[in-house]
């Protein structure tokens, strides 16, 4: 217990003194996760909306695959991306393995189905007759789709939060494809694993506290975007 307490005190000290090592890890984590989330949102929200609103042959199969994707084990994604980007893999020529780009790719694969799936569910939850009403008021297909996405915005925001949550806390995939290289591919989660193994509990706890704080801030921002007061 005293170790835990001592670790917490040290953690606060490292955070308050803006320890360069902590800052470097935090900065890389935000860059990788932020970029991955941006790609997932830009692709996942329109695709999820499309899947909810369009009827096409094979739609059920696509939805079944999507639901499977929502539960993908990150470490399996890491393995897949590793094989894809390894020297002998089909995308080996890119030279992305053990770089932040590989980590971003893995995180996009993990978060995209979540953003798509939750967006699809929220759009499907919008009154189906509303689309007829919008068309009747003179909306083009794009205008109606945009309006429906806005109506489903709370669910869309939840989809982005879920995507964020799935990758900010993920360790298996980034460890495999990033390699946990100091100053280059070391993120909050991989650093926590390493520091815990080394017995540097103060640094591990500092990173853990930052990770929790990030999750809290992200969720609080999303709640504000949803128009809800924090009370």
């Amino acid at each position: 217990m005293s170790e835990l307490f001592r670790g917490a005190i040290q953690a606060l000290r490292l955070i308050l003194t803006l320890d360069p090592q902590v800052l470097s890890i935090l900065s890389l984590t935000l860059r990788v996760t932020g970029t991955a989330l941006l790609f997932s949102t830009l692709m996942g929200v329109p695709l999820g909306g499309l899947l909810a609103l369009k009827r096409f042959i094979g739609r059920r199969v696509v939805i079944a695959l999507l639901y499977t994707g929502m539960g993908l084990p990150p470490v399996v994604v890491g393995l897949f991306v590793y094989l894809l980007l390894s020297r002998s893999g089909p995308l080996g020529y890119l030279g992305w393995l053990f770089t932040p780009r590989a980590m971003i790719l893995a995180q996009v694969i993990i978060s995209l189905p979540l953003v798509m799936g939750f967006t699809m569910a929220s759009v499907m939850g919008v009154e189906p007759e509303l689309r007829l009403q919008l068309a009747s008021l003179g909306a083009t297909n794009w205008q109606a789709t945009w309006t429906i996405l806005k109506e489903a915005r709370n669910g869309v925001i939840v989809s982005i939060v879920a995507g964020f949550g799935s990758i900010i806390s993920e360790v298996g995939a980034v460890m495999l494809v990033g390699g946990n290289i100091e100053g280059q591919t070391r993120t909050l989660t991989t650093a926590i694993v390493l520091e815990t193994r080394k017995g540097s509990f103060d640094l591990a706890m500092a990173l853990g506290i930052i990770l929790l704080a990030l999750s809290f801030i992200a969720n609080a921002v999303m709640l504000v975007l949803q128009g809800r007061r924090l009370e």
Binding site: L130, A135, G138, K150
Partner: protein, 241 residues
């Protein structure tokens, strides 16, 4: 400008294998209020969706304003017609945002003044900034009506707009609809279960049953001297098949 705004020839609408509408010939006169009456499942709402070009007939021909409408309907033509549904189907946000919606889609100018004018007409001027979540059912339906009439459609389609309302709000909507037709000459097609409402409002009444047009006649004749016994039974409030 009188004449016929819609002409439907041999229009059939199937949902899967089920035939919901089969009209040999139906004309909707311009500038009049036509009420479509009939029991549930008569095809009334399906007819409105065809008239608003929200769906295409499985076969047959719809002629709008003298022009045959086939396949992809041009946006400009679609925007001459709008529908108020049985439920208000409002967007989240304020009353103003809802009423301004159609005008914004069209990129029109002077939106604020037009919205204010229409809200006054439906008796909701002081509600402009109110959230639609705070409205009663009757107020919400008046917002839906305002949202439709602010775009000044040539044809206003009403799908049982007073079915869920109390007598006060129902009568208010009837008055607005009647004045819209009288003052602006808007062609109105209104689906209703309520024969008394049809009697109060309609210039012409059509009776649908099982997707077929049983009778269409000027209102007075329809109610006083129906030619089909099924129409007479429906008017008397009897179950018809």
């Amino acid at each position: 400008m009188n004449g016929t705004v819609y002409e439907l020839r041999d229009v059939v609408k199937l949902y899967g294998q089920r035939e919901v509408l089969h009209l040999d010939h139906l004309e909707i006169p311009r500038g009049e209020i036509t009420c479509i009456v009939g029991p549930n499942g008569a095809g009334k709402s399906s007819l409105l969706r065809l008239l608003n070009f929200l769906e295409s007939p499985t076969s047959g021909q719809i002629i709008f304003d003298g022009h045959p409408v086939n396949g992809q309907v041009p946006l400009a033509l679609k925007r001459r017609v709008t529908t108020v549904f049985q439920r208000p189907l409002l967007l989240s946000g304020s009353v103003y945002e809802n009423v301004a919606y159609g005008l914004k889609l069209r990129g029109e100018k002077g939106i604020e003044a037009r919205v204010r004018q229409v809200l006054e007409r439906v008796g909701l001027a002081e509600f402009a900034r109110a959230s639609v979540r705070t409205l009663s059912g009757g107020e919400a339906q008046r917002v839906a009506l305002a949202r439709a009439i602010v775009i000044e459609p040539e044809v206003l389609l009403l799908d049982e707009p007073t079915a869920n309302l109390d007598p006060y709000n129902g009568s208010l909507i009837e008055k607005i609809v009647a004045s819209l037709n009288r003052e602006q000459g808007t062609t109105i097609v209104m689906v209703t279960h309520n024969v008394f409402q049809a009697k109060r409002l309609a210039h012409r009444v059509a009776f649908l049953l099982g997707g077929r047009e049983i009778e269409i006649a000027p209102a007075e004749q329809f109610f006083t001297a129906p030619t089909d016994p099924r129409t007479a039974a429906f008017i008397r409030g009897e179950m018809v098949y």
